[in-house]
């Protein structure tokens, strides 16, 4: 049954924000734009590279999040999801996972490429990918919670941003710290573990918030 749902959610996530291609195009574009507006000094670029990747990851997640629940809410599909065999908590989890697979994972793969193209150390690539993947997971779940909370209100986008942005900051801190520490040779495991813990906590807890928020919006 989860498979049925996952298939649908993947298709929707793909159509929704334009999916992987949009996010990766976004990243590519930002990587092009940055040197354009910064001037092409390699030393400067290299330091900026991974940081920018993080910002793009966060923004690209936000980009498609707003509509994660809203469409289903407005066209009545959320009613149907409530009346299915799986509890709404599972539905919300599947939605977030689909979002992550479609947007987060390709972005995680593209991040090191962009960073290296901008001049980051190639050795950092695996760490960058891992951090971006974990960060994307946290973004998808936290963002989903924001999207679900905003359902009941009239102002989607604004609220989601305001609600979600503060909660997205910790993963950015952890992830940035891990990559930065690695590049300057400091211990990087601790911040990476914190990032993982945050992502897991988000994945474990926010589904309840999402389900409650959806029920609240429907009632």
């Amino acid at each position: 049954m989860i498979g049925v749902l996952l298939k649908r959610e993947l298709a929707l996530a793909w159509g929704r924000g334009g999916g992987a291609a949009l996010a990766v195009g976004f990243l590519a574009c930002a990587s092009v734009m940055l040197p354009l507006s910064l001037g092409p000094e390699p030393a400067r670029l290299a330091r900026v590279a991974s940081g920018v990747a993080w910002v793009v990851l966060a923004l690209a997640s936000l980009l498609s999040l707003e509509r994660m629940f809203e469409r289903d809410f407005e066209d009545g599909a959320l009613d149907l999801l409530c009346l299915g065999p799986l509890p709404l908590e599972v539905v919300a989890t599947v939605k977030c996972l689909a979002q992550w697979v479609v947007v987060g994972a390709p972005l995680a793969l593209a991040t090191p490429i962009a960073a290296i193209a901008l001049g980051a150390k190639p050795q950092a690539a695996p760490l960058l990918t891992l951090a971006a993947a974990l960060g994307g997971l946290a973004f998808a779940f936290v963002g989903g919670a924001g999207a679900a909370l905003a359902l009941a209100s009239r102002r989607g986008g604004l609220l989601i941003a305001l609600i979600v942005l503060p909660l997205l900051t910790p993963p950015v801190i952890f992830g940035g710290a891990a990559v930065e520490s690695f590049q300057i040779g400091l211990p990087w495991l601790a911040p990476l573990l914190m990032l993982g813990a945050y992502a897991l906590a988000a994945a474990a807890l926010t589904p309840f918030a999402m389900a409650a928020a959806c029920r609240n919006a429907l009632s």
Partner: protein, 240 residues
């Protein structure tokens, strides 16, 4: 005590005298704390600016206290579906935002002489307090943008509980990351590492701020109760 106060009538009776009482206590504590604080000798490192501490640190503590109260009230409201708890949560948020703003402002006023910068991006504690501020704002915005009172309450509860994660992050940020910000010097293992000349006014101010928060919280909750009574009376009148 909470069970007793959950009754709105009893709460109104209690808060009628408790709010002014707490307010008076707060005024005394802050007044005395200020006198001691202004008389405290300049620090050998920080000079006269050390006196900012007496406004900054209690403000930061109270901001966290306010969020904890918001979280607790939201939890009670979520689990027991008690209207009063929701009104208390709604009342706590703007106060928390104000104290957080105060902590941010006094902190950056202090940062200018101490670190040579108003604000240091990348300092985990500073940023996490900013995040706390944004969380308060997000809570207020969410409540304001949902007209249906019951839905607004429920959404607020969920958000407030999610945001609780931030509290430990703020508190432990100085341990987890090497930051510019002062490490734990009072609530740490092995007792406070602060000379009594500084500790006494700091604690007095801390008590004063918390009492002031308590007084304002009660008053605002009272106002919220009145407001809802008024709207439901107006509705009954309209329906009749």
């Amino acid at each position: 005590m909470f069970a007793a106060l959950a009754n709105p009538l009893r709460f109104m009776a209690f808060s009628r005298w408790a709010a002014p009482l707490l307010g008076a206590a707060a005024a005394v504590a802050i007044g005395v704390g200020l006198v001691f604080g202004l008389e405290a000798p300049p620090d050998y490192q920080q000079g006269q600016t050390v006196q900012i501490m007496f406004v900054h640190v209690p403000a930061a503590w109270t901001a966290m206290l306010a969020y904890a109260c918001l979280g607790a009230a939201s939890f009670v409201s979520l689990v027991f579906r008690h209207a009063l708890a929701d009104q208390a949560a709604k009342a706590a948020a703007p106060l928390g935002a104000a104290f957080t703003g105060l902590a941010l402002i006094t902190g950056s006023l202090w940062g200018r002489p101490m670190w040579g910068a108003w604000w240091v991006w990348g300092d985990a504690r500073l940023v996490s307090v900013l995040v706390l501020f944004l969380l308060f704002l997000g809570y207020l915005a969410l409540r304001a943008s949902i007209e249906d009172e019951a839905k607004s309450a429920r959404a607020g509860e969920i958000l407030a509980l999610i945001g609780l994660i931030n509290l430990p992050v703020i508190h432990f940020s100085v341990e987890w990351w090497n930051t510019l910000h002062q490490g734990e010097s009072i609530l740490r293992k092995g007792g406070p590492a602060l000379a009594p000349v500084y500790l006494l006014p700091l604690l007095l101010m801390g008590a004063g701020y918390s009492l002031a928060f308590g007084a304002l919280w009660l008053a605002r909750t009272r106002a919220e109760v009145w407001k809802r009574r008024a709207t439901s009376l107006a509705l009954q009148a309209a329906l009749a």
